[in-house]
Every structure is written in structure tokens, then in C-alpha cells.
Amino acid sequence: MKAYTRMLWLLRGRDPQEQRAIKEDAELLLQDARARGRGAVAATWLALMWDLIIVGAGYDLARAFRSLVRSPGFTLTVSLLLGLGVAATTTLFALINAVILKPLPYGDPEQLVMLWESNVPQNRLREGPAPGQVNDWAASNDAFESLTGWWTAQATLRGREGSAPVQGVQVTKGFFEVFRRAPLLGRTFSGDDYIGRPSIPSGRAGGAEPILVLSHRLWQSLGADPALVGGTLFVEGRNWRVIGVMPADFAVPDLNAAFWTPWDMRESYNGPRFPDGPPREARFLRAVGRLKPGLTLEAAEDRMEVLAARLAADYPRTNAGWSVQLVPLRDEMIRSSRTELLLVFGAVFCLLLLVCANVASLSVARSAARAREMAIRLALGAGRTRIVREHLAETALCAVLTAVVAIVFTTVSMGAAIAFAPADIPRLNEVEVNASVVWFSIAIAVLATIIGVFLPGLRGSATAIASTLKDGAPVSGQNASRVRRALVVAEIAVTVVLLVGAGLLARSFAGLQRVDPGFDVQNLLVLRIAPDVTRYKGAPLVTDYFGRVFNSIGELPGVASAAAVTVLPMSTIGSDFYRPYWLEGARPAGNAEAQANVRMATPGYFNTLGLPLVSGREFSAQDAIDAPRVIIINESLARIAWKGEDPVGRSLILDYQGGATARQVVGVVRDARYKGPRSDPSPEIFIPHAQNPYLVMNVLVRTTIDPAALAQSARAQALKVDPDQPVHSVTTMERLLAATMQEDRFAMLFVALFAAAGLLTAATGVYALLAYTVAQRRREIAVRMAIGASSSSVARLIVMESLTLALVGCVLGALGVAAVSQLARSILFGIAPQDPLTLVTTAAVLFTVVLAASWLPARRAARINPVAAMRL
């Protein structure tokens, strides 16, 4: 009962008689309950307390609501500002939650490690292991419970509605044991399923029936019929039995995986071409192992090192110098994104703190404005606790509004964040607004409101009655004012850093766009064709097919020429072959040969691309399968191999498909930046497509009109030749080029967004501070005006104050820029962090904004009526 009496202060606003009645009745109720036992007493007491709290808080909330409705400007500004800050933080939290914090969707994911091969002396780091190694690792059984390797193959899926290109994953024994994931439907592979199955590209007939497990995505696009399990799919010219479907979040190696199929490595590497079984030098697989329970990563690494040393001793030609690296799968997946995301999160959190500081500044200004009201209420007998309680209720309302604003903005901005984010951030598809995101948002909203509204407002209740009522003197002392000034200066300094960053990134991006990629990017249409291996077997058929495709596309008006290559500049699709070469009679000892990218090109490719020949000739129809082996090289290779002499007519030995053969150089082309403007040209060797008829090609069309307008008709013309061969990824070279700069664009937009937010924060900060100062110095200004100061000189006084803040902020910001300039150097392209134009522009923008923010307070100061101001 004592507690109850103490809690009665909640009802202070009520009539004392009513309060007494409530108390007495509560006592009677408790007495009644005592007769019924302890349980009843406890229940009654709880009910009474609850009743008191609900009624008391409801009363305060209602008051707070009325007061907020009376001055909606403050409430809305605060909730909007805080809400935006919280929304930004929450969005980043959602990203981090999905990408970093959530466990991988596999059983016991912490046991999973990815395996890489590295050769430090040759500076070949983190290469996917070769089949021979994966085979031995899995067999050795030293460190891993199970270990699997896989590779991804392009395949053509033919259905009722035509053909579609899909990615099939060839997995070695133990794949589903490693990942420990149950299928959604049907079953996954078990031991015997791996034996004797044909691989995706193998045209071989016979052997065991091909089987596959579907990805959720492909299953969905096929109609999500459970009856698909047990049925067959027509892939790469043969029927495959579907034995299961995986859940939606099973994405190994990524979401593009359409199906998984068992790969019998021994079956693939069988026959006279592979006397030693699975090759050890073709490093192209991806491998993941499940550590034995209780085995640490270090212990496993040690055991794998022993194994690698043994293999190096057994197979010195292919394995000398090669070691094994083990990386936890989780780290592997978020390797690059983790630091970026955490940095961005830190930045967003700083922004939130800035916003809080600003709102705090507004709150202080507001409580100063209400100081008289408070003082009068205190003088009339309102208790301080009552005022604090009302303030608490006000904070609660603000927090609710903030949380609502934040959740709405988060939901809206999530889509934008995902669209803007670089596509290589893994697990982006798992980002969502879920319960933990909403709770995070609420918690941050409450925290931000406490910092921004509750704590600063407390000062208001500590008002000294007498002095406030006496002459409207300043409420908070010099000290508080100095703190707020420091806050604004800090805001300006941070904004300067962000503005400089945004400016530099924008200039760097513009610089990237000006880089000459080496060829004519405009008016190029790109499409990809992956003909069926079973239909087009042998060089003549393939050459003939592509020739007909070029002719068919060439018939279109607006097309100048068409050609094809295995890997296009700027394109991420297509496989590069990095192969050793040497000059005749000059093969280096060991395996220290220089390497070059090998690509297959059709006649007219360089002409179509607009990449000029430095000397020699292009490929022609004469460079057929039975003609002498020829190649075209780029300037980089010519420089490295022949050191300035003209290589045309000379020979070079290339170790590629079918062993080392001499090939004559017939032409040298200019260097192109193959991987985007940031990349440097690397040595390249081009082989006539007819002499190595690769199936999956990128077709390039030079147009005389807007290439995008020709996309559909060019695709149709290609399909006219053979409607069963999929033609896809139709795009323009300009778009491919833009895609290589996607990360730069992301960084630029992101920092620009931040700079804008920072600018807004600084502007409101300056405004709130000056508005407060003007209110505080009302009497002083009035006196100045009374003794002859003009309105303009008063306005100047206020503006000067803002300019001082801006100047100090700028100087501090410049120091900040100097501090982070080393970091920026690595991101920037073709521009120094001290770029004067950027610095000057930043200062100009900042001063303009600060001046604009001080305009209203200055005008208010200039319009003070001395008579009215001094009367108070």
C-alpha cells in the first residue's frame, strides 16, 4: 500500500478529494483480497498499480499530444530529421544483418572452409584448385569429413517455349554432404549417383542416365510443379532425370546456379589424352570442405600443408611451389564486403549522431522559448516531477513518430539501396525488412529521441523561476551555448570532408568516363550465342553456323558489320584462357613461362570493334582449319616478346589445346583496356575462330544507328538461322562499359548522398543556433537599436557569427581531408586528393549554404522592435 500511495503522484493533476477516494478504495480492495489469500492480494495489487500507471500515463500522453499538436512544426521537424537518420541506420543494419550477421543457410556452417591453391614464387595467388588436387584431397581424408569441388558450365535448356541459356553446376562426390542441406522436394545425390554420369558438355552417348537437382529459381520458372521431380528436362541435347529441388536460399556458388549434376571426374578424364588421370595444372575448380569435428582451422591447414608438400614431391612439374589456403566459407563470402559495409555503417551512424546533435540543438532552443511558460507553471505550484513527466510523454510521442517515419523510409529505401549496391555483395537477395530490422529501428528511434529530445529538454525543467520571470534572461548559461557552437562547427567540418569526398569522386568518375578504352565504344551491339554441342560438332559446322548468323544480321539496315569473339572487352561473360607461350627455342626452364590471354576471333572482328591494327592484317576466311596456324597479338605482348621489333611474320609457341604448337604472327593490334577503364592492358593472343571453333561466342555488331534500337531485330535475325540456339544477353557496348564503373558510380552517389545529408544537417544546425542566439540576445539587440544601430548592422552581426562558424568548420574540415587523403588516393582515378577546383567549389557551396541558413535569423534580428523588446 505504501508503494501505491507513493505512486499516486502519477495522478497529481486530479482533484485531491478524488485522489483520496482512490486511495481509500484501493485500501478496501486490498483488505478484501487479504481475506482471500496471498495470491489474491498479489493479483489485486498488480491490477491496482497497472490501473494507476495506465490512467496516469494516458493523462500525460494526452497532454503531450495536445502540446505537440499545438506546435506541429517542432514535432514534425524532429520526427522527420530523426526518422531519416534512423532509417539510414536501419537500412544499413538490414544489409549487414543479411550479408554478415545471419548464419549461412547450411548445416553447421562454421565447419565449412573454401580451399585455394597459391604459388607464391610465381605470384599466382588464390587460384581455384585443379581436379587432380581436389581428387587427392578428398581421398586423403586428413582434415576434412567431406570435401567437394565444382565448376559451372553454360548449358542450353530447351522447353516448349524455346531455348534458354542456364548455368549448370557439376559437383563432385560429397557435395550435399558438405553443405548439409535437405532438398525441398525429392532427394539429393548419394554415393552411386556420382558414378558414370556424363558431364554437361560431353557429347558422349551411353553410360548411366544423366540426373540433376533443380534450383528453386529454375523450378519456379518451370511452373513450380512438384511433379517435375521424377520427370525429365531436355538440356544440351539430351534428357536429364530430375531427382530433387533445393530450397530458395541454397545458392552454391550463387543464385545463377540453375541445377546441380554429379560429376564423375574419372569418367571425364579418361582416355589417351589423360594418361595421369585428372589434370593437376588446370586450376579452375572451386572447392569447399567440411572440417572434421573439433579440428581447428590451423590444425587443418597444417595437415593440408603436409599433403601439398607430398604432392609437390610426387608431381614436381605441376605442383612444385604450390600450397593450399583454407578460408572459412563465411569470410570468403563476405571477404570484400565486410569492411565496406562496416565502414558505411559507421559513417551512417556518425550521420545519425549529427542529426541527434542537431535535434538536441532545436530542443534546447525550444525549451528556451518555453522557459517563461515553465517558470509560470512552476510558480503557480506545478511540481517539477509533473513537468518532467509531461516531457517524458512528449519524448515518447516523438519516439513513436520517429519510429513510424523510420520504418516507412526504410521500407522505401531498401529497394533503392539494393538497386544501387554493387552486385558483387553476396546474399543481397536475402535483405528484407523483418522483425529484427523493425526492432532495431524502434530501439534506435528511442535512443535517438532520448538523446535528441529528452535529455536537452530536461534543462527546461531546471528553470530558475525568479530570474526567468524577472527579465527573460538567458536560460542556459554561456557554457551550454559554447557546447552548441562546438557541435555546429563539428557538423560543418564533417560536411566539408564529405563534400570534398563527393567532389573528388565525381571528378574521378568523369575522368574514368573520358579514358580511351582503345576502341570505338559507340554504336556497338553485343549478343551472346551458345550453340548446342550435339548439333554443331566439328569445325566446318560451327564456322558455317556463325558465318550464316553474321550474314543474317548484316541484312538489317543500319548494320555495318558483324563478327564474334570468345571474350569481349568490358564483358564479364565468357571464359579467358591464361596460357603459357614462348619464342621458338627459348622455352624457359621449369614452369616459369610467361602467360597471355588466349581468345578466339572471327574474321573482321577488329574492324567491327574499331580496334586499329598497328601492323599486319586481320584474320580472313583463308585462315581455316586446314590452313597454317596463325595468330594476332596485341602491342603489350609484342613489346614483351619482341622488345620493339615488328613481330609480323615471326612465330610464337603457344601451349594450348593439343599441346605446344608454333603459330605465326600475322598482325598486331592496339592495346585495349579489356576490363574497364581502370584496368591496364595485358598480353593477348587471338586465334582464328575457324582454327579453334569455340562454341560459346559473343557476337559484336557495328551499327550506323542507335544500337539499342537494333537489339530485337538483330536477335530475331540470329534466331532465323537456327531457332533452337539461344541468343541472349543482348546489350550495347556502352552499357557494358558503364557496368565496369558501377562500383565507382555507387561510391560517388553514396558519398554525394552523404554530403547532401551533411549539408542539410549543418544548415539546420546553423539555423537553430542562430535562431536561439537571436532569441537570447533580443534585449541586447533592442538596446543596440535603441541607441542607433541600423537594422542592417544588426543583421550583419548575426551573419558574421555564422561566417565565423563556417570558417572554423572549414579549417577543421581541411585538416580532416588531409588526414584521409591517403585513403582516398587508392579510390580516386586520375585526380589528386588536393585537387584545387574541388576544394574551392566545396568552400563556395558551404559558405553559400551557411549564409542561406543564417538569413532568417538575421532578418528576425533586424526586425526586432526595440520598444516591444525592452518592455518585457
Binding site: L11, R14, D15, Q17, E18, R20, A21, I22, K23, E24, D25, A26, L28, L29, A47, L48, W50, D51, L52, I54, V55, G56
Partner: protein, 127 residues
Amino acid sequence: MPDRLRGVDHLLPLKPKVLHILLALADGPRHGYSIMQEVAARTDGHVRVWPAAMYGSLRELEELDLIAESEKRPSDDDERRRYFALTPLGKRVLSEEVRRLEAIVDHARASRALRLRSGQALRKERA
């Protein structure tokens, strides 16, 4: 304006707690504690009103002129207690509300899908 001419529709429907308080006062004036006990007794303890909320409601009802402090009080009582009684307006509001609820109950009974037993049958069953 005389009470009986004043419309009562804008006061309906009553909040459940308010309805229970008015019902408790239907048989005559009561003081606060007695209202709480009466409500608990009428509903077998399923509905309870607690003092802070109840006195708030009583004040609102007084302001709405649905109840008034009563002069009639037992001789043996603590003189500090306030007794409340329904005003004529309060009585009308209560009967209007009961009529409104009755209409709803009738409608529900008429719906055969619900198969509600009548109040009589229910009482027999209990007996």
C-alpha cells in the same frame, strides 16, 4: 433545454466499463467502492473496474450530466463518501444502450447459423 428533448445518440455506444458503471447505479445511488463491488458481483468477477480509471470515468460521466452526486445516503455511513446516482439523462442513455444491445442480440439469435440458445434455456441449463 429539458433533458428528455436532448438527443442521446451521440453518446452511444457506451464503452463497456461505462456501461457496467451505469448498470451498477441503475438500482439506486452507490458510492465508488460499492460500484466496484457491484460490477464484480454482476459479472462473476469477469469484469473489474479499478479506482483510478473508475473515478476518472465518474468525473467524465458527471461532466456529461449522466450521473450526479446524490443527497440520499444511508444514515450509518462515513460522511466523507460521495454517492452517485443516475440522472434522468443517464437513465435514458442506459436504456437506449440496452435497447441497442438487445437489437444486436435479437439479430444474432435470428441467425440460425449461430444456434444461440435463448436466455431462458441457458438459465434452465444452469439450474
